[in-house]
Assembly symmetry: C2
Homo-oligomer: 364 residues x 2
Amino acid sequence: MKELTVDLGERSYPIYIGEGILQQIGELFAKHGIGKGSPLLIVTDSHVAEHHLGDVVSRLEEAGYTTTSYTVSAGEKSKSLSVLEDVVSAALQAGLDRKSTVVALGGGVVGDLAGFVAASYMRGIRFVQIPTTILAHDSSVGGKVAVNHPLAKNIIGAFHQPELVLYDTATLRTLPDREVKAGLSEMIKHGLIWDAEFTAWLEENAQKLVSLDQEALQYGLYFGCKVKSIVVSQDEKENGLRAILNLGHTIGHALEAVSGYNKLLHGEAISIGMVGAAKLAIRLGHPEHIYTVTKRILQAFGLPVSVPADLDTDAIMNAMMHDKKFSEGNMIYIIPTEIGKVEINKNVSAAWVREVVEQLKQEV
Amino acid sequence: MKELTVDLGERSYPIYIGEGILQQIGELFAKHGIGKGSPLLIVTDSHVAEHHLGDVVSRLEEAGYTTTSYTVSAGEKSKSLSVLEDVVSAALQAGLDRKSTVVALGGGVVGDLAGFVAASYMRGIRFVQIPTTILAHDSSVGGKVAVNHPLAKNIIGAFHQPELVLYDTATLRTLPDREVKAGLSEMIKHGLIWDAEFTAWLEENAQKLVSLDQEALQYGLYFGCKVKSIVVSQDEKENGLRAILNLGHTIGHALEAVSGYNKLLHGEAISIGMVGAAKLAIRLGHPEHIYTVTKRILQAFGLPVSVPADLDTDAIMNAMMHDKKFSEGNMIYIIPTEIGKVEINKNVSAAWVREVVEQLKQEV
Ligand SMILES: NC(=O)c1ccc[n+]([C@@H]2O[C@H](COP(=O)([O-])OP(=O)(O)OC[C@H]3O[C@@H](n4cnc5c(N)ncnc54)[C@H](O)[C@@H]3O)[C@@H](O)[C@H]2O)c1
Ligand SMILES: NC(=O)c1ccc[n+]([C@@H]2O[C@H](COP(=O)([O-])OP(=O)(O)OC[C@H]3O[C@@H](n4cnc5c(N)ncnc54)[C@H](O)[C@@H]3O)[C@@H](O)[C@H]2O)c1
Ligand SMILES: [Zn+2]
Ligand SMILES: [Zn+2]
């Protein structure tokens, strides 16, 4: 079992990563101050419930906890105020009080939703994350929790840090292959923004990671969480540095929006976005190998590197203009300056971005 | 103009109280760092909009601010997640960004709703309160913001402190008489829990306060805010002392719930609740005059002191049992030990409370 601390002063918390660690859930909860006197609410989604809920519930009950579970439909649509209201109904019916804990068992959707329930129920109660996707190595670090509004993603939320994160890599075996790869895309991002050596390791271990080799997986998740946690520790409330976590996300979000939030997974969209950012880097005079290496790694993981030809360039550009990072003809972009390093560049011309989007349709 | 600081370290903020101070709204906003580069969203309700919105908007626009207004229906029903979603739509359409400010123009309903919008929009933006009720001298201090859930009041919320509070006592002239008195009930509560001298002053000035004499009103609001702010400063996140602010509220909430949240105003219900708490005090052996004085003051303000005879005692007791302050046959009660002092008593027997509720139906 690997352990790592997200360093946020009073709000610091540990992340445990290992195969089968949910077997120790009772002890780990008790060790981190989750009391048995107040009921727990486990929030999960329909896919995860099928595979993992029974196990978590029975281990917690054996350990002496009182639990209630609430299962939302799988998918982004559950990150809404109306589902939040339903989860709060369940919390009230289960008698959750100020000393209770909300447990998020699932991927980023469940983590964000249940985290915002915990942040706002009685103005804030405890929260534990049990991530079951690879992408969640990203979403479970940093304390950003939120639901969507019909007009904007993640716009209603809070910063609310969990008490602990329990990452049982055995749960990942039931994750669909496409979700595995999409999650690894964020892991690659963590390499590209922060650490050349880790990035090289990722390329070498692409096959192992994709096939969920446990040793590789645990190291990758550990290092990915670590990069995210270093960045977040330096900028808890997102005032500066944290922006580098958006590598590939400006183009990526636009692609998600235009493809209808359904055809491209988030990790796939930012994979394409990271190739775009590398192309912009070259255009800005940074070394050519940034582009070659970025693309080669993503392809080693079977991730997409080209914009689907049927997506309209104008629509993509429009979606980017609505993104908050745009101002007065220039865009704020996270640009790699070498492998493992990025800069926040506020002067990327919209015209160059358009050119790059066009080129990304030809990418092979 | 009176000024007072709510002392919360980094989150400290000023309250300005005075007649006509909205005329200086532009300068006061600028002085407290509300920038002109990002749009403001003014949230108000249908009654307040009719009398005061035009004035606030035109003064802010004159001062160089860009404003958008959103008016909710007057009444407690607007403190809901669905209205929150509507307000967020307005915020998005107006282009509110991280540097924007939400302005709550209204009573406690608007303050709680708009405050929770500010707390959660983009995970937290700035917030200014412009209270227009007397009750809001209570709700605008302390940073508790929330909406209701169909099953429970104020259950979804946050702690989010405003940048400043602008209390223009001229706005109170349009407040219905019954709302004036109900708001004064919380002012009396602030006297009873904290300060015998202020309580005596309140009794002497009852007529002036009820008729909105400006000098008396400003002093009363100032002192009421001050008591609340001292208590809150010592217990920002409601872990202990803040409980004393609940004098009269356990019975009060039950009466509100049973009377359907409509027949009794909150201030009226806690007026009756404070008489109940005084009766319990006597029962616990505290001096008889606590009861006599409490009742005499409330009557001087024309506030109710008896439980409406048609309310069912069982239903009232049941509503209290569902209140979070109840445990194992005993109730946690805020009990006056003399005028201007209270204790948190965890051993008030439910049987005594029932007796007191019965007696309160006979009160004249
Ligand atoms: N809070 C943050 O900092 C942050 C960061 C990145 C992303 N996010 C959010 O995370 C969300 C995406 O997260 P995600 O990719 O984990 O999505 P997700 O939670 O929707 O999971 C993806 C799919 O996999 C299924 N699934 C999850 N675990 C499974 C398992 N072990 N076995 C079988 N099926 C399983 C889910 O039911 C779902 O269908 C987005 O809403 C995004 O906004 C948040
Ligand atoms: N956050 C806190 O700490 C806290 C504390 C106490 C109460 N509250 C909340 O405050 C709310 C009650 O506040 P309230 O009594 O101010 O209620 P309110 O905001 O509903 O106002 C009462 C009525 O007066 C009208 N009104 C307000 N100002 C007016 C004016 N100047 N002229 C004419 N009409 C006016 C309103 O439209 C409404 O009809 C409750 O929801 C309660 O939960 C919050
Ligand atoms: Zn991402
Ligand atoms: Zn009250």
